[in-house]
Subunit: 365 residues, 2 copies
């Protein structure tokens, strides 16, 4: 099957994955790791997934200069000019705007998928057919599409999207009008969301035409839009990097969700279920990874467990771990760091990181 | 103070310390490790302790050929011919007999202390004054002296010595006649021992004249005695090693406790208290090591604990460990092995070792 030359993809790969420390490290964060033990990093899985829909040269990776070489190493044969390097971290709106102007130079008729590099999608066939549908309606309508996941339990770590079940796109009723984006709810609120039936998990995967997203950016984030617009003729030239380095650093740091999606009136969501997880925490990773009969999820060639249950264990292959009498813990032995932490206390990992930086230095981050 | 030229010491350093795996490894067992974090190995502490009583050249180390180089490295300036290498493990009776014949060649009037290399003695002054007394009575009497520790609690991991409080040496009433050696008791039995007041822990530290121990060996273990006796003229010559290699391997494997002390009629014990521990298990080590306010005993330059109590933690200095929510565990990260085990389950370490050897290979032992 020939791939549609107007299909484009922007994969955001600039995150630092600090919640996965010490497996995720400053010099090689989560998206570059095989956190599932599948033999591919999350970025590689993401890239290969979109290769089935977009011509290879239409896939852009936005990342940090720090990670350019890892991207080249992991994505065999990627054109180096498809790797866009952010000179500073400014959240997703500037990142997407930059990619838009690069794509504009290449193809003003582009229809674009924007996706994180570090999420997991288990039901790829369903996902790809949803994406195909979304690309089609995005091409035919001036709308902004976000994918919403039917929630299976009251997760308090995700943002939620409320949709209007009675108001869908005429051309495809599966795409529902978005009423509200919400921040991470508390437990009671999350349960109410689930019970209501009209709330979805916000997967942070967007589909739109280049025309529609640029129009929305121009309307809702004009400063950012104009800043990049001034350099549109420099895109793809020798002067691009210099321009970006200047423009980017002076940009407001703001997410596309907050800056555009929550404010725009033409946002639609397609409720779906394609085995998605943001694998955002050790516990989330535990949920999606395979487990042995004792409920232990183990990565590492040499892990021996005794009277141990429901742990998530990640050990470097050159190391042997013997673990006895542990229930419901995270155990990570990665290079120069060992972490042992109760699974229910995983939110403390960020605090540990801060303490480590202050007390022990950057070599352990 | 000039040291008595008849004072000799035999330090037994051939053990493999498997209960301290993975800190203790086949190629560097417990006696060569700084398990206390004092900056010296147990062997070094033992050696330096006896240097205060015996001329340096009168201190012999019996060990395995495997560990000869570690002994040389750790005991600065030791004469290489003071390191006696066992060609095979045959327990303590052959080891002591070998040393006796080496010392006999040097000084038939020797009075000898025999001590393990891997025990801890915290009250060194008291210990040394007891040893001085014991050397004196051993010189003047044809007796075999063992040091007995006044028990502070019903330990089930030690052997016990029952003594006769009414029957002591005429020349020094502190030395009591031994009635019985016992194996490790169960909990109830150990409590009975304590309550009786006439049981002591068997520390495995002996004092005797060369004359008395050789007479006892000749009486009670004549095969072993005669085997070594045949080579007495070869001791200290080029032919010693060849002779020992042959003799040793064909020797019965038997302990001095079982072969001599339990059978001899001239055994005396001096009840004492010099802060002794055989540091035989992780739990025993935990008891004697320093602890922080949370009861954690930690060795390692980079260990950070959160909500963790009563653990014994040993981490290589080049590694950072962050440990949260752990109570009453052993955590050891040593070279290519990580061990996490409940302190109360420490007896399982031997089983782990067997499993590791079978399933993973000798590189982790």
């Amino acid at each position: 099957m020939e791939l549609n030359k107007d299909n484009y993809c922007v994969i955001m790969a600039g995150g630092i994955g600090s919640r996965f420390w010490p497996m995720s490290r400053t010099d090689r964060p989560k998206q570059f790791l095989d956190v599932m033990g599948f033999g591919e990093s999350l970025l590689q899985m993401t890239y290969h997934r979109f290769e089935k829909i977009c011509p290879k040269d239409n896939i852009y990776i936005v990342t940090s200069e720090l990670y350019r070489n890892i991207v080249i190493e992991q994505l065999d044969g990627i054109r180096e000019d498809r790797i866009l390097c952010e000179p500073a971290r400014r959240n997703t709106a500037p990142c997407i705007t930059y990619a838009n102007f690069r794509i504009l130079k290449d193809n003003p008729n582009a229809n674009i998928i924007v996706a994180p590099s570090d999420h997991l999608i288990l039901k790829e066939d369903i996902f790809l057919s949803i994406i195909q549908k979304a690309l089609k309606v995005a091409k035919e309508n001036d709308i902004l599409i976000t994918l919403g996941i039917r929630p299976s339990y009251p997760n308090t770590g995700y943002g939620y999207i409320q949709f209007d079940n009675t108001d869908g796109l005429k051309s495809d009723i599966e795409f529902k009008k978005v009423k509200l984006f919400t921040e991470k709810p508390n437990k009671e609120m999350a349960q109410m969301f689930i019970d209501s039936g009209d709330f979805l998990w916000n997967a942070g995967i967007f589909v739109w035409s280049l025309h529609s997203i640029n129009k929305a950016l121009n309307d809702l984030l004009p400063e950012i839009y104009n800043a990049f617009s001034q350099g549109k003729d420099l895109m793809g030239t020798d002067k691009e990097i210099e321009f970006i380095n200047e423009t980017y650093t002076s940009c407001q740091s703001i997410s596309i969700d907050y800056g555009v999606m929550e404010k725009a009136s033409n946002v639609y969501v397609m409720p779906s279920d394609f085995g998605w997880s943001d694998v955002g925490t050790w516990k989330a990773l535990y949920e999606v990874r395979g487990k042995d009969d004792n409920g232990n999820s183990t990565i590492g060639k040499n892990v021996m467990t005794y009277s141990s249950t429901n742990n998530v264990i990640t050990i470097d292959d050159n190391k042997l771990a013997v673990i006895q009498g542990l229930d419901d813990y995270i155990v990570v032995d990665s290079k120069n760091v060992l972490l042992i932490c109760k699974k229910d206390e995983e939110q403390r990992v960020k605090q540990f990181l801060t303490d480590v930086e202050v007390q022990k230095g950057k070599e352990y981050l």
